[in-house]
């Protein structure tokens, strides 16, 4: 039996998104000419095609009706994949600007098309354009980003084009959940100058693959939203922070959620120090060892990095074996969302480069997984 529900998807590609990355520019917004001069080639069209290929079966079978934008903003990509689609009656352009994305989104959400889902290919800048274009309709639209930018800090993106396709399929099958995700963007100017100033621009409703728990005795079939989970963890961490203690903060969004809530700006990829409302960004081992005076009141807050669950030794080498020894295991707070825990399959890893410290860390540890929730995990 064929399921006859048809989902209409508006598909918008920002063809210049991501061009800056390979030529060392941090984002293309406003500097396209320079990017092209430096030899940048478009990456978005290719990513758009990957996404469409993975979705092809659903489009061919008629479950999805695709509405896209003339030229490189979707039409060309869809043509190359060989699928049916409709095109918005907009001018075809060779050079696109933010306004083109906005115009397309506005039309897709308007009465005539009123698509069920908008999928865009781009980066944080594109996400902002989508958000702007939706303006008062923002509560009614559901949006998903296919990552193709240089900066993709917003929560609206799937991890990859193929995961985006999985999410869309689940959405079509009625198996995805929808949550509000942040649209953030880094201040372009300062970013290119090496400073990271992330602004929150708003929220979009985004479909995602839920972690399904249908508990008979679960208050309700519960789904776990990553961002909400991070905020919950952050709230709990802050409740337990002590004045006059020094906190060595590892990289990543989960730890960053803590500083966001504290109202200080943490580097996303660096290690920072926090003490009594002040943050020293991007510290190295030397600065940590020099700055921390009272090790008795020093804490490390980290979250596992990547799918292997490595907590020390990858991306946070600034927190050296000596630092760890000084802080001691009891003062290490590990934060991990439930989604992350699920991928870890029950254990964490360390690889500090110092056998003695690795052994010191091994055994079991309490990991913060939610507001006032801990979980015992093994460190191997």
């Amino acid at each position: 039996m064929k399921v006859e529900r048809i989902i209409s998807i508006g598909f918008v590609v920002n063809p210049i998104a991501g061009m800056g990355g390979r030529v060392g520019l941090k984002g293309t917004d406003g500097v396209v000419e320079e990017a092209i001069r430096l030899g940048a080639r478009p990456v978005a069209p290719e990513r758009a095609e990957f996404f469409l290929k993975d979705l092809k079966a659903y489009i061919v079978s008629g479950k999805i009706k695709l509405v896209t934008v003339p030229g490189l903003m979707g039409e060309c990509e869809a043509e190359r994949v060989g699928i049916d689609f409709n095109v918005l009656p907009l001018q075809r352009k060779d050079k696109t600007i933010a306004e083109d994305t906005k115009a397309a989104v506005k039309m897709l959400i308007s009465g005539k098309y009123r698509v069920d889902l908008i999928v865009f290919v781009g980066g944080d800048g594109t996400a902002r354009d989508v958000l702007d274009a939706l303006s008062s309709d923002v509560d009614e639209a559901i949006v998903l980003g296919v990552p193709s930018g240089v900066k993709m800090y917003s929560g609206v993106f799937a991890v990859s084009p193929s995961e985006a396709a999985e999410v869309v399929k689940a959405f079509v099958d009625g198996e995805a959940d929808v949550a509000e995700m942040e649209v953030v963007d880094v201040d372009e100017e300062s970013f290119r100058k090496g400073r990271l100033e992330i602004h929150l621009y708003g929220y979009l409703k985004v479909p995602y693959l839920p972690l399904r728990i249908q508990g008979t005795k679960t208050p309700s079939p519960e789904t776990i939203d990553e961002r909400e989970n991070q905020k919950a963890i952050a709230r709990f961490v802050i409740e337990n922070m002590k004045p006059d203690s020094t906190y060595i903060l590892g990289p990543g969004t989960t730890v960053k959620a803590v500083t966001d809530l504290l109202g200080v700006k943490k580097t996303l990829l660096g290690v920072d120090l926090y003490w009594n409302g002040q943050l020293i960004p991007d510290v190295n081992e030397k600065i940590i060892l020099e700055t921390v005076k009272d090790w008795k009141d020093a804490w490390i807050i980290i979250s596992p990095i990547g799918g292997q669950g490595i907590i020390f030794g990858r991306g946070n080498q600034q927190i050296s074996p000596e630092v760890i020894k000084n802080v001691r295991k009891e003062h290490i707070l590990i934060l991990a969302t439930k989604n992350k825990i699920r991928r870890l399959k029950g254990s964490l890893r360390v690889d500090t480069g110092d056998r003695e410290v690795d052994n010191l860390l091994k055994g079991r540890i309490k990991v913060i997984t939610d507001y006032r929730e801990w979980r015992i995990l093994k460190i191997e």
Partner: protein
Amino acid sequence: MGEFRQARWFEPLIFSIGSSGRRGYSIPSIRDTDRSALRDIPENLRRRRLPDLPEVSEVEVVKHFTRLSQMNFGVDNGLYPLGSCTMKYNPKMNDAVASLDEVRWIHPFQPEETLQGMLEVMYKLDLWLCEITGMHKFSLQPAAGANGECTGILIIRAYHQMHDELKKRREIIVPDSAHGTNPASASMGGFEVVTVPSDDSGCIDIEALKEAVSPRTAGLMLTNPNTLGIFEERIREIEEIIHDAGGLLYYDGANMNAILGKARPGDMGFDIVHLNLHKTFSTPHGGGGPGAGPVGVKEHLKDFLPVPLVEYDGKKYYLNYNVPHSIGKVKGFYCNFDVIVRAFAYILTVGAEGLKSISEISVLNANYLASKISCIRGFEIPYGKGKPRKHEFVASCSGLKSETRVSAKNVAKRLLDYGIHAPTIYFPPIVDEALMIEPTESASIEELDEFVKVMEAISKEAYENPEKVLSAPHNTSVGPIDEVKASHPRTLCLSWRMYKRKFMKE
């Protein structure tokens, strides 16, 4: 093995039927008093516009809801192997006694001497539940399992408060296979939750538990057998670890059906117990309630129970409000008495011997089914290989999913097509593509064999013609439901009023 057909009425909302001026209720004459009394009520306190309720005759109301009932599925319709819900048969005699005037037409604040029957039932049920669980006193007040859990958590709070340790003891430990309400109840009671993983045998990882306890431990919540249907063999060790750390042990009685007359939580060392009368003790679940979640405690916690307790002075039964450290009240009045009286009737009819048979057969049924399901292609029963299950078991169809795309949800939906209610799915979270199956003692061997045949057929379909399974259910009152649309902000519709505003705009 035939497919089934559920009634498929096109039944509109009650608001869309009827006609102006109709009604289904005859108003008693009020000649004895003066209807103009309404005029005494000042204009600004009176309702200005009548509520937009349906205007329907009794005939229409009865037809409407009768048709709706035919589009519903209860334990009287067929097998209902919903794991951890103990969907056993609900004896009709129990409904009959719950319908007596002496149950329906009594007011909770009547003088005790006019409520001796109710108090006697409550008192005796309390005694019997004590005997069954090995506890010393029960409160029948909680209206549901979760309400009972809250009660237990409040008792743990009050206990540590009295010992001046509440500030320090902030943590409740739960295993990762726990019912979802356990952490929710702990957090509702203001505690932090520490989750302890299960080991390969499907039981609590004792080493991890040792790591989890500390002077911050307030207590442990555990169900035994656990949600995998496996008995926590090292329960005495667990008990020692928690008690040595100064914590209390809470027993979630949702799975009590497995061990009636075989073992008692009190003997395992638990301090607090809740039972679900709407599971183990056969009271009907009513589409979601009412239930009853009585809480029992050991002697040392008796003075913390909610008020009032029911006592007997040798001559009469009475309500005792004089409970020194009582946590107060957890719901209005004393209990859902219509539920209590059914459980009372159940124990009275089955007795000790019957309770034991119930556990034996429910466990036998589960193991019989498990042995057959584990042989079906695409299914396996993870954790504790070779261990007997208790009243339920958890199968995983992750093999089926990776080979055919057919998920636990699809299997569940396809089962409906055969007139079998789906098991609990995706629970416990430690099992991928989980199907949690609890046949209860009410299932006959014929029904169990039928269930196996249907599962085999679904597996075969999944490998040969997956579309049929993927697009299930086909034979229920409605086909697959658009749950995304249901929660989608644009189409969210939670009442007739919202419907009118969103979809009936001119």
